[in-house]
């Protein structure tokens, strides 16, 4: 067999063409208009109260927004940085108690103290991160689980804040149809803010560093990234968002008690929403939150009750994970089938 070409330049040219054929292109189809339209719609929803009683719709959106905040916040650590925490509800709890006790003792609404609660959580998160972020992978996951248990026992035995029995918080004075609105707006705005900030983080040097950490910490470190600071910072930021959500949630429920915050279902929900929607994506946590809340509602409404409810929830979760291993946004994007409006990255 002889050479299939004559001139070396032929090959070089053929190679250029061949490369062109195989090259993967940059993906630049982002739909920022969609989240903005969504936000505008959500801000208008309470107007429905003028024509009827839509308290439940408002409650559902509020609840979804609350989880969207937590899931997006979690995503900064779990999605970008690759540290799966099953213990983020600890910050939900700390935020809830911090702002809740200020409300109980001094009557300051949590809507005002939420940012402060966020800061407190960031500080606590920073300290805890300093310890637990030494471990990686499954060990980290489990240390986070242990964190919840420790927090649970401590809060259960802290009698100043009511121990296991918790504290009742005063409800606001608004009439039934308007009582939810302050919290509704707080959560919707907070969700928008969280999404916006995670978008900013993801596309910053900091975000790139976090993603590098999630893949190979040693490589990241030797690339000049201060991994320890980056990841504790990511931990603190994500704790702050979860904490702010906790602050408002406590007042909304008018009751704070360790096992409202510190049950595994809360932290798993955050994780699940991210994974289902697409870990490390911007839209993922929001979509995950919407879907999980919706599933929940559908099951409770249609199946009413019973073990079947748990079974079905688990089943949906398993199927989603099997068929969308990268989450809905992630998997569709990998297959180049992501509808445009879901690409917020």
């Amino acid at each position: 067999m002889s050479l299939a070409f004559n001139e070396t330049s032929n090959v070089l040219q053929a190679r250029a063409e061949h490369n062109e054929k195989l090259a993967r292109r940059a993906d630049r189809t982002r739909a920022t208009w969609f989240p903005i339209v969504l936000l505008a719609l959500l801000l208008a929803v309470p107007a429905l109260q003028f024509v009827g009683n839509f308290n439940y719709v408002i409650h559902l959106i509020l609840f979804t927004a609350c989880y969207a905040v937590m899931a997006s916040g979690w995503n900064i650590l779990g999605g970008f940085t690759g540290y799966i925490s099953l213990g983020h509800n600890v910050f939900f709890c700390i935020g809830g108690y911090f702002a809740g006790m200020l409300l109980a003792r001094f009557g300051i609404s949590t809507l005002l103290t939420a940012p402060l609660a966020g800061l407190v959580c960031a500080a606590v998160g920073y300290l805890i991160g300093r310890i637990t972020l030494k471990t990686r992978g499954p060990s980290f996951i489990i240390s986070s689980l242990a964190l919840v248990m420790i927090a649970r026992i401590l809060f259960d035995n802290w009698h100043f804040v009511g121990g296991a029995n918790g504290v009742a918080l005063p409800a606001n004075d608004l009439s039934v149809e308007w009582a939810k609105l302050p919290y509704y707006y707080a959560f919707v705005v907070l969700a928008a803010l969280t999404v916006f900030i995670s978008y900013k983080i993801k596309h910053s040097k900091f975000g790139l560093g976090l993603r590098a950490i999630s893949k190979d910490e040693i490589k990241a470190e030797s690339a000049g990234i201060d991994t320890r600071t980056y990841k504790t910072l990511a931990f603190a930021i994500s704790a702050a968002f979860v904490g702010m959500a906790g602050a408002i949630w406590g007042e909304y429920l008018t009751y704070i008690r360790p096992n409202i915050f510190l049950i595994i279902l809360v932290s798993v929900n955050m994780v699940l929403m991210c994974i289902l929607g697409g870990k490390g994506t911007i839209a993922g946590p929001v979509i995950g939150a919407i879907l999980i809340v919706a599933f929940n509602e559908i099951f409770v409404a249609t199946l009413g009750s019973s073990e079947f409810n748990i079974l079905a929830t688990g089943l949906i979760m398993a199927l989603a994970l099997i068929f969308f291993p990268l989450g809905i946004v992630g998997t569709l994007a990998a297959k180049h089938r992501l509808p445009r409006f879901l690409n917020w990255d």
Partner: protein
């Protein structure tokens, strides 16, 4: 520029690096060679602090660095590649490369990840290495050689003062290698210091100003290429009869 003083690293009973001392003069291309398992990679790891040395000193421009965390060392201008290339999956090659670019202070942290200038610079480097087509490919979906090249690209991105290359030529096509050698020489002329580990003797002989030979964790020879290739100890321990053939 870089001074290694009595460096040791023990793993249990194995003395991977055993009281090793040598220097890398500023502006030079220094080669570190030696048989398999001599401790070259381990020495690299100690210098870049990916491994904690058991004893000894490492000085970069007169400053001791063996206690610093790796990113600090990198920020001081010392960058390295890995013998078995480590790359970041789920990130495009472009991101892999840009990830390595230098970050100034806090404020830089929140700048856009892929700044236009950086992308341009990165693309130039990729183009030079002939791997533009994989710029948006996932960092883990590469051939062995492409990974090595990507590593090299990342290194060039970081504007280092001194680079440590661990077998950069391994698995790279000879034709491309020629170009890379040329490039390294050019950078060197512009003032970059290079410490290189390689088994490709041809490359070492052509490139380096100084050769350090290690065996069993110790430096057994240190000098100009001409001197080292005549050294019987080196011939015996490392080269066999290869050199004659290649020359």
């Amino acid at each position: 520029m870089l001074e290694i003083d009595n460096l040791s690293k023990h793993f249990g009973g194995i003395r991977a690096v055993d009281g090793c001392s040598f220097t890398v003069p500023k502006g030079s291309i220094t080669a570190l060679i030696g048989p398999n398992g001599a401790g070259k990679t381990t020495a690299f790891n100690c210098i870049s602090r990916t491994t904690e040395p058991s004893a000894g000193k490492v000085l970069l421009e007169g400053q001791r660095i063996e206690h610093l965390r790796p990113h600090k060392i990198t920020r001081m201008g010392l960058s390295r590649t890995f013998q078995i290339s480590r790359n970041l999956a789920d990130m495009t090659v472009l991101e892999n490369v840009i990830c390595q670019s230098r970050i100034g202070g806090w404020r830089d942290l929140f700048k856009p990840a892929l700044g236009a200038e950086e992308v341009e610079k990165a693309m130039e480097i990729l183009d030079f290495l002939g791997i533009t087509r994989i710029a948006y490919e996932d960092g883990s979906n590469l051939s062995y050689g492409q990974k090595k090249l990507m590593d090299l690209a990342a290194l060039l991105m970081s504007d280092p003062k001194i680079i440590l290359l661990d077998e950069p030529a391994g698995g790279v096509n000879p034709t491309l290698l020629e170009e890379i050698i040329g490039h390294i020489q050019k950078l060197n002329e512009q003032g970059l210091t290079v410490l290189i580990v390689e088994h490709n003797m041809d490359l070492i002989m052509r490139l380096s100003h100084k050769i350090v030979v290690m065996a069993q964790g110790k430096v057994i020879a240190d000098g100009k290429p001409e001197e080292v290739r005549e050294n019987p100890a080196v011939l015996d321990a490392y080269l066999g009869g290869v050199l004659e053939e290649a020359a």
